[in-house]
């Protein structure tokens, strides 16, 4: 009875238009190989991988082209059979230049994937699974691109009791996780077996938002009886897909300020990441492609595509039929996705989608709206899922009072979901202020 009163959700948050109907019914299709693939050596948080190929070398699809450099790093695999044109700087998502491997795929190749050493879930130990996940190059495919093997190992003195498989996908326009849950159901359960063994967690929960009830039903129907898995459907709310929020919604545990999910005995892995673990590890393959949603009103052939890593955004937009006058392109969804300044950047492991808008649509949605002063209406305070005070933080950011932002107002806990900027009637670019402030805080503390 108590459970009925307690909703599987978190406090605050917002309800932006979901915009998922356009692509959620479209099955995942394979994307063609671009004439040139650019594989950055740094697609994840942490240390860049170190390249093990040289210019002019032939590579086959799935071959390791860069090895992990230390624990906070993962391997890279060739996205196509072809020839390494050069290893040089290429523009990255952040507008920075990243050392990358340029691969020209052979047009006539059968593009067979080269297999490596398979990792069997029954016979492998936890450490072997963690090592296999690292050498398969698996990172968080939800967007953060945090190396998955790093968080599987709980810190000293902490135990993990619950594994949360995050299929919430609260970001508007994106439907990749939805399609993966429908089409790779068996892979997901297989991946859960690996993850449970690696982490030592006793039970797992798959979290799904109510707008994906067909996926929840399919998972429920096909769930193996011997697996300690429950499927929980949460009410739709943004940003439920964030790690901190989904743990709050399902377990009603609050991660302490500056802490990790391991502090409350939980670990949260994206559902697409889980599916890739379940698909790749038994075959000994590495990640060389991923599922993305190409959508938004500026796209003619919207859909969910399995796309080779290293495809440029320009090629992806051309193939998906972008409108001539697209003016803004986000990698990921429009709430948290970074907008790109260069269409020649490659799609990486952390790219969950491409969302394109034309100028008219951008003008209609945001216009060239003037930034007005804060009127202290506290709508941002009601929106912030972490109970921060974005209004006060915004004022402090404007005055460059970084010490107070960190010490009194917990700036560093903000994960930039954008709920405050979304509701602000004065159009104050709060998240941009916070990103800038965080950057300045890191710069100042590095100088000390």
């Amino acid at each position: 009875m108590l459970n009925l009163a307690r909703k599987d959700s978190f406090a605050n948050g917002i309800h932006p238009p979901e915009m998922k109907d356009e692509t959620s019914h479209l099955a995942i299709r394979r994307f063609p190989f671009a004439p040139l693939l650019i594989v950055p050596l740094s697609q994840h948080l942490g240390k860049p991988a170190s390249s093990v190929v040289r210019a002019g070398q032939e590579v086959s699809r799935g071959q390791v082209i860069a090895e992990a450099d230390g624990f906070m790093s993962v391997a890279m695999h060739a996205p196509a059979s072809g020839i390494v044109k050069k290893i040089a700087l290429a523009p990255g998502i952040g507008g920075n230049m990243i050392e990358s491997v340029y691969i020209e795929p052979h047009p006539a190749s059968s593009q067979e994937v080269e297999g490596g050493e398979a990792c069997d879930v029954e016979s492998a130990t936890a450490d072997e699974i963690i090592a296999a996940i690292q050498s398969a190059g698996i990172v968080g495919l939800g967007g953060a691109a945090f190396p998955t093997h790093v968080k599987l190992k709980p810190p000293e003195g902490k135990t993990l009791d619950t594994l949360i498989i995050n299929g919430v996908e609260c970001e508007p326009y994106l439907t990749t996780d939805h399609r993966v849950m429908l089409e790779q159901t068996a892979d997901i359960f297989n991946g859960i077996r690996y993850l449970l063994k690696a982490t030592g967690a006793g039970e797992s929960i798959i979290a799904i938002e109510a707008n994906k009830s067909d996926a929840a039903k399919k998972l429920q129907d096909e769930c193996p009886a011997d697996l300690p898995v429950s499927i929980r459907v949460c009410p739709v709310k943004y940003p439920q897909g964030a790690e901190k929020m989904v743990i709050q919604s399902l377990l009603h545990r609050e991660i302490p300020s500056g802490g990790l999910p391991a502090d409350v005995g939980a670990i949260c892995v994206n559902v697409a990441t889980t599916a890739e673990i379940g698909r790749l590890l038994p075959r000994g393959h590495g990640i060389q492609e991923r599922v993305i949603t190409i959508g938004g009103p500026g796209i003619k052939r919207k859909g969910n595509y399995r796309i080779p890593i290293g495809t440029t955004v320009r090629f992806a937009l051309d193939e998906a039929g972008a409108a001539k006058d697209i003016a803004r392109v986000f990698l990921g969804g429009p709430m948290m996705g970074p907008s790109v300044s260069n269409l020649d950047i490659p799609i990486t492991k952390g790219t969950s989608g491409i969302t394109a808008f034309t100028q008219a649509q951008i003008d209609e949605a945001t216009g060239h709206k003037h930034i007005y002063p804060c009127i202290h209406c506290a709508r941002c305070v009601e929106a912030c899922p972490l109970f921060l005070n974005p209004s006060q933080l915004g004022i402090l950011a404007k005055n460059e009072e970084y010490d107070r932002m960190v010490g009194e107002f917990h700036l560093m806990d903000c994960f930039e979901c954008g709920a405050c900027s979304y509701v602000c009637p004065s159009h104050i670019p709060l998240v941009q202020y916070f990103r800038l402030s965080k950057k300045m805080v890191r710069k100042l503390s590095a100088a000390k």
């Binding site: 523009p91 507008g95 230049m97 907008s339 300044s341 269409l343 670019p429």
Partner: protein
């Protein structure tokens, strides 16, 4: 009544005599020249001399650990006045100024995207590096102009910061403010200057900016032995050698390496193209 008056009178006499005693015993002789020299300094407290404000420099000058030449804000006459007053040598501290390693104004450099957001280079850098096609180039939103207390930097008509060398005291605020690390401090005698930080080479660079260094290496060949070396597709001037070699700039095809003259500002070589465009570079953003 009379007891209270007497007690208060006695107390005030006691405290007054304590004050007199303290004044006599604890008196510190401060050199009056410190105050006078402090008055003669410009009072901007810019910190360019390396001392905490003008008073710090005045104290150092009086005790002989610094010369008036440390102050880069005063002109020669003012410096001589201080030197004469203190009876010391003026000191030949060379004037140091901030130099910008980019020449890509809107007339020559291409924008790839239109940036909308906070009016600050630092904020723009965090949004996919800003809209400029060249990743290394100046974004032209004027963080340096805003941070300069001495009004020594202004944005020209092509949104490129210009340093007024006479006003610049080399305090280093613009060096800290620039998110692309384009400013550095140099003595004015460093005439030879590479106004580009683009690490790529060839025609790809020139498609983004017409005054970028395309790493042809002519300057390194023309300069006598080892003054200029090409490192990471950019010429690097070795200022520890004799770098007074103007012929190094003459064959530069883009004018990325320039010659700074005191009054005329940067001069490009004869082979560099001349730009007369006033508006932004043709070609729409992509």
């Amino acid at each position: 009544m009379s007891i209270a008056v007497l007690t208060l009178a006695a107390l005030s006499f006691l405290f007054a005599s304590l004050l007199v005693l303290a004044h006599r015993k604890l008196h510190v002789d401060e050199d009056p020249r410190i105050d006078a020299a402090h008055q003669m300094l410009p009072g901007t407290n810019c910190g360019a001399c390396g001392f905490p404000g003008c008073l710090g420099l005045a104290e150092a000058m009086v005790d002989g650990s610094a010369l008036p030449g440390k102050c880069t804000v005063m002109n020669d006459d003012e410096r001589d006045d201080v030197a004469v007053f203190l009876g010391v040598d003026a000191g030949a501290e060379e004037k140091v100024v901030a130099r910008l390693a980019c020449a890509g104004g809107t007339n020559v450099a291409r924008n790839r995207a239109r940036y909308e957001g906070l009016d600050s280079c630092r904020a723009a850098t965090l949004v996919a590096g800003g809209g400029k096609a060249c990743f290394w180039g100046c974004l032209g939103l004027g963080d340096c102009e805003k941070v300069c207390d001495l009004d020594a930097i202004y944005l020209n008509e092509h949104d490129l910061p210009i340093v007024i060398e006479d006003a610049c005291t080399a305090c280093g605020d613009c060096v800290d403010a620039c998110p692309k690390d384009l400013f550095s401090l140099h003595p004015v005698s460093h005439h030879l200057w590479v106004a580009c930080k683009n690490l790529e080479k060839g025609d790809a660079v020139l498609a983004d900016c017409e005054v970028a260094c395309d790493a042809c290496g002519k300057c390194a060949v023309d300069a006598p032995g080892g003054v200029i070396t090409m490192i990471d597709n950019l010429p690097v001037v070795d200022y520890t050698r004799n770098h007074d070699v103007r012929n190094a700039i003459e064959r530069c095809p883009t004018g990325a390496i320039v010659w700074f003259e005191k009054d005329s500002g940067p001069v490009a070589g004869r082979a560099a193209p001349r730009f007369h465009r006033q508006g932004s570079r043709p070609g729409s953003p992509t």
